[in-house]
């Protein structure tokens, strides 16, 4: 989540999906890169011997969770497990959309990219006030 290229990558993915939704020819380069990032982030970590609950790092849950709450229907995303399952499903859909010329719900995928991008930027902005600052600076 701390990769500074990520906001630009997801923004370009949103642009590509927006263009595709209008029937324009798109190379889906950024969409593929964002999809790979998402798949890499969703590393399933299961406690041995324990209940089969997924572990995702707290920042991934924060950013992806907020994005999903914007695009998925009310009440469908409530737990870390829900975040994992819904985000994985969207990553699979994006992979298909960038690989085939068949119809895909480009608009839904674009909305997710936009929601993710805004969630990420908001998360970054919340980190900026933690360091010591000169009290004389305004």
């Amino acid at each position: 989540m701390s990769d500074p290229r990520l906001p630009m990558t997801v923004s370009r993915a949103a642009i590509e999906l927006d263009q595709a939704s209008r029937g324009e020819h798109v190379d889906f380069d950024a969409t593929r890169r964002f999809t790979k990032f998402l798949q890499d982030s969703l590393q399933q970590d299961v406690e041995p011997g324990g209940p089969h609950a997924v572990w995702l790092d707290a920042n991934t849950v924060d950013v992806v969770g907020h994005a999903l709450l914007q695009v998925e229907e009310g009440g469908m995303v409530r737990t870390v497990q829900d975040v994992f399952e819904h985000a994985l499903a969207l990553a699979i859909e994006m992979e298909k959309a960038s690989a085939t010329t068949g119809s895909s719900d480009f608009d839904r995928l674009r909305r997710f990219c936009v929601a993710f991008g805004n969630s990420l930027l908001s998360h970054r902005a919340s980190l900026k006030h933690e360091g010591p600052i000169n009290p004389h600076r305004r």
């Binding site: 500074p4 906001p7 707290a58 829900d82 930027l121 360091g131």
Partner: protein
């Protein structure tokens, strides 16, 4: 998307690219800065192309995200560009660059690139997470101290920040600290129940609406663990010289609020004291007593105090583990830490106001330097004791230069 707003962002991106073109015309003492400038330029050229692809037909939210993404990179890269430009300034101790680069490469990999610069800011710092600058370590020292060799051990702390991520510890600790915070809450549920009043203990870790309530404690605990790790890193590489440099910078700090992402000051010093003994170093008597803890949040800030107590409780569980991890990482890298005999030899040369030869490592020179500082009659020739620090700095920097020359000659023979 308001066309005016889009044109503002495009103009700002163009301004940054023009500034980068000017920086490219600077004289670079080593190539890594040039490479970093080139990578930053590529990032903004991509933004320029991205913004150019937005048209009147573009979805409004998509266009706004493209502008926001460019704007965030603008706001986060300007101080980096300043850092890169200042790395060319003669105020920096270029003599130390070669030895520090060798240490960085031994610890972090042969393809590590290092940039040392200065900042008009009180504390040494590093930049992390610029993924478009892979394998780069960026270390900044306070501008008035950027040529002060006595503070070079603090670069060891900053190297620790890069090691924290590269050695995979960041990821391990994210999970371990989360588990510790949740355990702390569920085992002390009576104390925390009113804070998490809408939730059951078993929901605290999994519910998306419960998690943000404790997440700041997780973040603070994780950052505090990282700071302990980095302190131990600097200590393990530079020995007692790190203790002295740390005290130089932070012991005078008595007032102000405790930054929540750091362990408190005296706590840090006490942990350094313990670590130094475990690493077989000699701790100055009363070392931790030189420091004072800074103020915690005011009692009426109930939420901050609760979260901070959670963070501190989680962090303390990992101090011993972090100390051992650092020892393992530095030992496995084959870093030559300070040798009492070589420190003694360096000291004898420095006391004659003669640069040390065959020091065999930066740690030996810097430990000898600090012994010189702490000895009021260090120089054999009394005439040098009048301006002792100035004279010591000069002869120490020359010793570091000789260290680098010897290393380069050894490479070719």
């Amino acid at each position: 998307m308001d066309i005016f707003v889009l044109s503002c962002v495009q103009a700002q991106v163009d301004s940054v690219l023009a500034e980068i073109a000017r920086i490219e015309g600077s004289e670079f003492p080593y190539k890594h800065t040039q490479e970093a400038v080139k990578e930053t330029k590529a990032l903004f050229e991509t933004h320029r192309a991205s913004l150019a692809s937005i048209s009147e037909r573009s979805d409004k939210a998509t266009a706004e995200l493209a502008c926001s993404a460019a704007f965030v990179d603008l706001s986060e890269s300007i101080d980096l560009l300043g850092f890169l430009l200042r790395s060319t300034n003669v105020r920096n101790a270029f003599e130390a660059y070669g030895p520090l680069l060798r240490i960085a490469r031994q610890l972090l990999g042969a393809d590590t690139r290092l940039i040392v610069s200065s900042e008009w800011y009180f504390s040494p710092f590093t930049y992390l997470g610029y993924q478009y600058l892979p394998n780069f370590v960026l270390i900044g020292l306070p501008a008035p101290e950027s040529s002060n060799p006595f503070l070079l051990p603090l670069a060891g702390h900053e190297l620790g920040h890069s090691a924290w991520t590269l050695c995979g510890l960041a990821r391990q600790m994210e999970k371990a600290v989360e588990k510790a915070v949740i355990e702390e809450i569920t085992q002390g549920w009576i104390e925390y129940e009113s804070f998490f009043h809408s939730f059951k203990p078993e929901q605290v870790g999994t519910d998306l609406f419960a998690r943000p309530m404790w997440k700041p404690a997780w973040d603070w605990a994780l950052r505090q663990c990282e700071e302990h790790f980095c302190d131990f890193f600097g200590l393990r590489i530079f020995g007692e010289a790190y203790l002295h440099a740390f005290a130089y910078l932070l012991a005078p700090q008595r007032q102000g609020m405790r930054p929540l992402i750091y362990p408190n000051l005296k706590t840090r010093a006490e942990c350094l004291d313990d670590a130094a003994r475990e690493y077989g170093l000699t701790v100055p008597e009363g070392y931790a007593d030189m420091f004072e803890n800074l103020q915690d949040p005011a009692p009426e800030q109930l939420r901050e105090n609760l979260l901070l107590s959670l963070a501190d409780a989680a962090r303390t569980k990992f101090v011993d583990v972090l100390r051992s991890e650092v020892d393992k990482i530095v030992s496995n890298a084959g870093i030559l830490t300070r040798s009492p005999a070589l420190v003694e030899n360096c000291g004898k040369r420095l006391a004659l106001m003669v640069p040390a030869e065959r020091s065999m490592g930066l740690a030996n020179i810097l430990n000898a330097a600090w012994r010189g500082w702490l000895d009021p009659k260090f120089f054999s020739d009394q005439q040098y004791n009048g301006r002792k620090l100035e004279n010591l700095r000069e002869v120490v920097l020359k010793s570091i230069e000789i260290l680098e020359i010897e290393a380069r000659l050894e490479e070719v023979t």
